[in-house]
Symmetry: C2
Subunit: 326 residues, 2 copies
């Protein structure tokens, strides 16, 4: 099992530079006052294809030699990796097939097709998506770009905190949401090399708390088909991401569905930007844990902005009660 | 009737500099491809108090001599001017009373109170709000800062296109929404001085087309209580804004309620930013009039981002049909 190094992150940064945005870092007087922290929001919701995943996907696609590239790429994804891989493959002009759970937002499926990707729908479980993907790879010879358990992908995601650190200087902590652990692994890889005192916190929905339980039990615990509005965070870790999580993550911070919805609502209302529920998980974790972050310089990674605008959490009554009077 | 000059705009820019944001100018590959134009979006949705109106309000509040300021300020407003005047008065530490239509979004009324403003509710008509305001001024001696028919306010709004021009250089056209005409008047004032060849287009809802009809008839035509989702654009011009509109505006571009909702949806979905319906009126006008803007460098003013997130136009079925397949 090859574990990527910081040299891989630097190489990824060069490789993907012309294909992805250097996203802005925003600040918010409102949230600084609310939490007592100096918060720096790395806005991957403004990233190409609407999420950070385009970093890892582009690193994998543009790193392929021509002989491999001609068979195309394939993957399974709850949404943003599918979009990102399709975007990157489209820019390189190679085929791409993605296996998506049938319950994924239509907006994401349509966007994959819009980038020229082929969508195959499967049942919404990790087992189902992996089985169907294996069939695709066997049939086409496509290169499988796993959404997170892939050294090229982890190195690509590591470019995000590299930029954040360049932009705002030393941070006491970085908070990012965790699903399979690609972004957190890349963040651990980069920060442990360039800013080893910075603590990395993984933010996770209570309803999909496999990483929280994994750290307590000292082994990968898997959920199959958990229910959370943070649809990007339903997957479980794999060995490469567990390596980084188990060695570098300071703690896992859990948040409820109501807290996720409320944090998302507040970010939209106060910062005037569209973030998806997974991104709001990181914001919710900072709001819930004022005691940890008060007085600290904290990077918060807003991982993406791909939302079905007709199905917002507060339309389902989530998160609104506690936000009255804000 | 004092008509402000470009010197007033420059003085306003100095006066308000430390109280307002120099907002970013964004671009969008998606909308450039869609319209064939090079679009530069001046993002006043990221402005203090969530809208451009804080420019004019701050210019008026901070320009008051101490003897006047001690009686406070007052105004009537459909929302954003109320917020902005409250913000500015709060920063100067003086009293502020605003008359708001009872139908204005709760989010705006709450935010006014949050800035320390006193809200008085009236019936949703221009006549009703003006009558109640007169009572307030008679009683308190407050300085009446009209939301647009005020030379200090128009000069303040003119600082927006001053920044836009500094940022992106010569533009062929600027498109901004029009309600009472404060932003358009400030834009005309500034651009006619620093870039006289730039054409100024006012974008207006078909359902509140008083400016369109005014230009055709050569006199101010008033609507009372028009119905449009662009709640900031329901008011009518007054002599100072009519002066600029009648002398400088190239044309008024009308858009339907569905077009406003669809443009708003697309901006949220593609640019990942929250803009209010009034801002979307400008975007809708550019989309509808590709023939005018194709091949041109066009500034588009996103005037604000104060939206009740629980009452979005597409929840009422507006604008969604035509956006299928985007």
């Amino acid at each position: 099992m090859y574990i990527p190094t910081f040299d891989d992150v630097k190489a990824a940064h060069e490789r993907i530079r012309s294909h992805v945005h250097r996203t802005p870092v925003l600040t918010s007087t409102f949230f600084n006052t609310m939490t007592g922290a100096d918060l720096y929001f790395k806005c991957e919701n403004f990233q190409k294809a609407g999420a950070f995943k385009v970093r890892g996907a582009s690193n994998a696609v543009f790193g392929l030699c021509a002989d491999k590239a001609k068979y195309g790429v394939a993957s399974h994804s709850s949404g943003n990796h599918a979009l990102s891989l399709s975007y990157a493959a489209g820019r390189r002009g190679i085929d791409v097939t993605v296996v998506m759970p049938r319950t994924a937002p239509d907006a994401k499926k349509d966007a994959v097709r819009g980038y020229g990707g082929m969508v195959l729908e499967c049942e919404p479980s990790t087992a189902a998506r992996e089985a169907m993907l294996k069939d695709v790879v066997d049939e086409t010879g496509a290169d499988f770009v796993h959404p997170y358990n892939d050294h090229r992908v982890i190195a690509g995601q590591g470019t995000c905190s590299l930029e954040l650190n360049e932009e705002v200087g030393p941070l006491d902590a970085v908070v990012a949401p965790i699903g399979g652990g690609g972004m957190i692994s890349g963040t651990c890889l980069t920060m442990s090399n360039i800013s080893p005192h910075t603590k990395i916190y993984a933010a996770e929905p209570e309803n999909a708390d496999d990483v929280y339980r994994s750290l307590r039990e000292g082994r990968i615990v898997e959920d199959d088909a958990p229910q959370t509005i943070a649809d990007g965070l339903k997957v479980s870790m794999r060995p490469r991401t567990w390596h980084f999580v188990s060695n570098h993550v300071a703690d896992v911070l859990l948040v409820s569905e109501d807290e996720i919805a409320r944090a998302m609502y507040l970010v939209w209302q106060r910062m005037k930007i569209v973030i998806e529920p997974s991104s709001a998980v990181a914001m919710a974790a900072v709001i819930r844990n004022r005691d940890i972050f008060n007085g600290k310089r904290v990077g918060v990674i807003f991982t993406g902005g791909n939302v079905d605008l007709t199905k917002l959490p507060w339309m389902q009554g989530l998160g609104l009660e506690k936000s009255a009077g804000e």
